[in-house]
Subunit: 544 residues, 2 copies
Amino acid sequence: MKIALAQLDYHVGNFEANAAKIIKAINEAKLSGVQLIAFSELAICGYPAWDFLEFDDFIAQCEKSIKTIASHCTGIAAIVGGPCRNPLKNGKNLYNSAWFLSEGTVQQMVHKTLLPTYDVFDEYRYFEPNTQFNCVDYLGQKIAVSICEDLWNLSEDPLYTKNPMDFLIKEHPDFAINIAASPFSFSHDASRMAVLRNNAKKYNIPFFYVNHTGAQTELIFDGASMVVHPDGSYLKMSFFEEEIRSFDLRKIKEGNFPQSDKQGKYELITQALIKGIQDYFSKMGFKKATLGLSGGIDSAVVFALAVKALGAEQVLPILLPSPYTSALSNNEAMTMVKLLGTAHKIIPIAKVMTSYSDLLNPHFEGLKSGLAEENLQARARGTILMAISNKLDYILLNTSNKSEMAVGYSTLYGDSIGAFSVLGDLYKTEVYELADYINKTWNNCIPELIISRAPSAELRPDQKDSDSLPDYSILDAILYQYIENRKGPDEIIQMGYDATTVHKILKLVNQSEYKRFQAPPILRVSDKAFGIGRRLPIVAKYLA
Amino acid sequence: MKIALAQLDYHVGNFEANAAKIIKAINEAKLSGVQLIAFSELAICGYPAWDFLEFDDFIAQCEKSIKTIASHCTGIAAIVGGPCRNPLKNGKNLYNSAWFLSEGTVQQMVHKTLLPTYDVFDEYRYFEPNTQFNCVDYLGQKIAVSICEDLWNLSEDPLYTKNPMDFLIKEHPDFAINIAASPFSFSHDASRMAVLRNNAKKYNIPFFYVNHTGAQTELIFDGASMVVHPDGSYLKMSFFEEEIRSFDLRKIKEGNFPQSDKQGKYELITQALIKGIQDYFSKMGFKKATLGLSGGIDSAVVFALAVKALGAEQVLPILLPSPYTSALSNNEAMTMVKLLGTAHKIIPIAKVMTSYSDLLNPHFEGLKSGLAEENLQARARGTILMAISNKLDYILLNTSNKSEMAVGYSTLYGDSIGAFSVLGDLYKTEVYELADYINKTWNNCIPELIISRAPSAELRPDQKDSDSLPDYSILDAILYQYIENRKGPDEIIQMGYDATTVHKILKLVNQSEYKRFQAPPILRVSDKAFGIGRRLPIVAKYLA
């Protein structure tokens, strides 16, 4: 049997485009002799559709799509992910299902059993867990079909009380197909490999695994679909690109595939961020990006990524110098503009600052200049960037990093604005490593001085980040333990960090929740990004 | 037996304060002869604690609190809500539990079976559902203890596949206690009444129900704890206030309680919003509020509520007239300031607008004035309000309503800013009704002209909301069908609304998702508020 995995980039709710893409793949596969083609989880409607799944009209559109697609499944079978109404009175009204289509119609549905409800996942919000288990019979083969999380319960501390494969394996399936919607994090491909290998080994059959590719706002799907043999060897498809690849089942059963090299952390992150930028623009119908280019490392990295993602002619960096902006900042920003060959604008903000001061000074009499004045600069810049965005149809890219978002070292409605955040899931120390990777890969497009200078927001004379924060190497290490690893203060202090610093930082993180609540969506590249995957109350008083 | 229900206002993560409050209630109840006192769901840590529940340190603090509280339970028993670690290897690591404490120690735990995972609720994100059912035996009485949602599965379309009470009733309990964390919406008290009556009738025993009161950022708990007899009569405690009330079990078993009058929609909403404002300030440690007072109805209503919640001396309205602001707006805003007796500031924004124009006009050459210029005004106002907030320690109240948030009729980083939104869950037509209620109740503090004038953002000469939107009566009705009732376009059109209008509005709603993503938290008063309870993807292409 010839089996194809279709790793495609869907658009949430764009039924026509998604169905057209699926039907095209089916027709082409049929022409090339494929007998079974598998598409990823909830491919019909895109993932994550979130609360659109609560709309009867949305589900009706899914059903219509499935029917249309089924009508193209003659001489070929397809497995397509889509929601399915629960016919029983009790329980949630939907299943998250794999639809088995052949002979022009729906032959069987397999429902998802294990519903990820953690981090960015909310599946039990919508779906009833499956309780009945049957393999799919097709052309003399017995196929154990499952959906993403269904395979993810073999760990030391299993989240669920059963394993769907334990039921399916009783029918002695010849192989397994898992359709997935598994978003990227820089360590996630390794986790997926381990899970698939564990399953292939435990159940002693080959596993076909097909994932989404492409970005849906903050979630970036990396594809990396694969076939894994019980011997541990695997065949992996491309990262972040659409690909349809077919496999000869007889060959697959033999295993012993040649293994390819792994990609590095920053190679994957770079590809992810580029795809994240590209898909936001293409799915929203936008072309042009703007950003504030400060001469610091964060905006430099965003600038480089935007140019790579959209092309130099589509990116407009804007320099917004204030009286506190150093010559170094202006010079290096301009050097980078020239290196990347984009247009640019320079809009000094001193006069706007003065007009605000004239207006506000009577109300601030007797008070020392401080945070309010620093924030004014950031907000004047934000207002100018948004005016350019509104007037000239540029989409504003946010340039904040994860470290400053964590401790609230940013101005709400000032530098925290933008359509989405490119670097908001990378700690400052990771931004430096990413800059190094970019310079190695793209011909040193980030001037060395931007990388080597001391970080500063330049909101007052001679300001340095290190005036108010510990060294980023320490800050980021503490943040990582707290945010990614959910360690408490005592545990972090026991790792050898200074107690006062730890308490101060954790307090800053929790007190800044109100700022992050209003932050733009953040391209997710780690296992724990700020945003929908990390939900915390604002008025809480824990470590704050 | 004398049973007390303790309806208290907890602070998420503030273990010391929460435990102190619980212990004080236990000691006082004991002195007044109470034998059993019940506290609400997750009282130990506050509700919703959200992802703090993923921190081992947070759970350890819960356990410490429970132990301390248990040590005070001598001569009295207490039921206290708190998380409980799941000792089994499989499944989620926590239960959402009712801890039965007496004789100075933990006697029994009852775990929650039905885990609400919809709207603002994410309980399956954290908790394993219970599968074992036992009543609590105490002083010769058998008590069916359950937790909130456990009673909510008797509807026509049940969300879950079992009813915990069906198991507990087999032990022939004498009465039931349900500990809850059930947030306010203006129709929710009626729903709760119906649920408790259905349960009391079906299982033929009295139900004691204890809820939280007080606000946790956007979620406002209304208390309204009660005892419901199988005969359908009930005793209800106060709305939105802390109260501990004790009941004689023998009397309760007799039923036939005298019934009190129901409160009206806007009476409840007014109380909810006041509590929402008060608790945000008290839990965050803030005192003073500011807002932009435009002379329109939204800011007038927020102004009135803020004065009622915080006191006139704590509220600073700021008039920010532009050249497009009418004399009517300025006059009526000042009339209201005088009526409410607060301080105020008038800060005309023309000069700041000019300084932005001077800066930007060279970049906008040949382009007509339009949206960008309108947004500039809103953002200049936002920047000034935030400067006052930062400098003079005022917390900025957002004044947007649900209709404009729905269709994106607001300026991101302009009028959409603030620490939280007071009216963001009330449609414009509801804001008018609320204004009427406020005027009837508080001595006409909102000038009649503010209510009767045509709504306008006053961002260009003679602008009216009706230039670009249908009448609010039509707009709000369509929005309600789409947002609250999740009706699709065809269903709404079939109700008699103009097809072009319906499609246009639904498109505006879905295209504005990116603005709402960055909106402040919104005090929730309906069954479907924007925010954490309504999750939608930004790049989606559904009805957009």
